[in-house]
Symmetry: C2
Subunit: 137 residues, 2 copies
DNA sequence: TTAAATAGGACTATTTTAAACCTATTACCC
DNA sequence: GGGTAATAGGTTTAAAATAGTCCTATTTAA
């Protein structure tokens, strides 16, 4: 169905939240989950992924929480997708060749790989900064 | 994971097969499944979808089978994707608004829709004709 | 020392995809 | 007309991916 995952959407919402309402402070997962209306536990997983990728930074302990790990100009939608879903694989042979039983006789692999890179480039051309400007309008 | 479905890949292989080895005749699902090495029953479903969309045409009965329903220049990768997977919905609110519980407070819906149309445009810019030329090289 | 937070492993439930199964219909050919 | 090889398509089952929960450990401010 070629649909983005829920976790990615949660992550994208969280990043824009941090970039607008989280300036100069750390924001708890609880606050974000309450404010945006989704599962605290699940959002927590998304935040952990974003943190590992350096998109978010965390402070542990009481009064802890998350803030952005980079400037909004330096975070692209692709960065968030990769942080949360891992490297993209439009076709299963991208994950591992033996995941496709017709690998050796496949003729459209080249095209599929080009397509994947084009989609990736689309995700890469929008930063959180530009996304926020579009939202404001 | 943003991966295309198996059924779509089967369909794309079948269309290129018909466009190269199916000239001036009808090809059975059995032949294509044997030749390309995948499930006859499953490919059959893909062919039925392609037929409904007019991409393939069928002849029933003994000596029946499939041939292309349009010229390779007139079939785009997007046509095949839509025939097999239905209208694309990068986000779940595209299917139906109430499939997303945060619909009313979502700020990135607009961007996601633009993104979807850009991806769709990418799929639309490659016809089977141009795809085959790329494969030949 | 308590409490509120992140970190992360393990598990469960739900949904989607892939595939198989089965029956009907069509039409060639003897 | 009857047998057979094909498409047409509905229903069911199996496998995989996604979504979400649960639980425990660790960190740190107060
Ligand atoms: S069909 Fe081709 S492109 Fe698709 S997974 Fe198999 S080898 Fe890769
Ligand atoms: S989060 Fe926004 S874009 Fe995604 S499904 Fe919900 S309303 Fe649509």
């Amino acid at each position: 169905m070629l649909q983005v995952s829920r976790k990615f959407e949660y992550g994208l919402h969280a990043v824009t939240y941090l970039a607008t309402k989280g300036l100069g402070r750390v924001v708890t997962v609880k606050e974000m989950a309450d404010e945006m209306g989704f599962s605290q536990e699940f959002l927590s997983k998304a935040m952990q992924s974003l943190k590992r990728a350096g998109i978010a930074a965390s402070v542990q302990g009481v009064k802890g929480g998350y803030r952005l790990g980079k400037a909004p100009e330096e975070i692209t939608v692709a960065d968030i997708a990769i942080a949360i879903e891992g490297e993209p694989h439009l076709v299963r042979c991208g994950v591992k060749a033996d995941r496709c039983e017709i690998f050796s006789s496949c003729h459209h692999r080249g095209y599929m790989n080009i397509l994947q890179h084009k989609i990736q480039a689309l995700l890469d051309e929008t930063t959180i900064h530009t996304l926020l400007k579009e939202i404001e309008r």
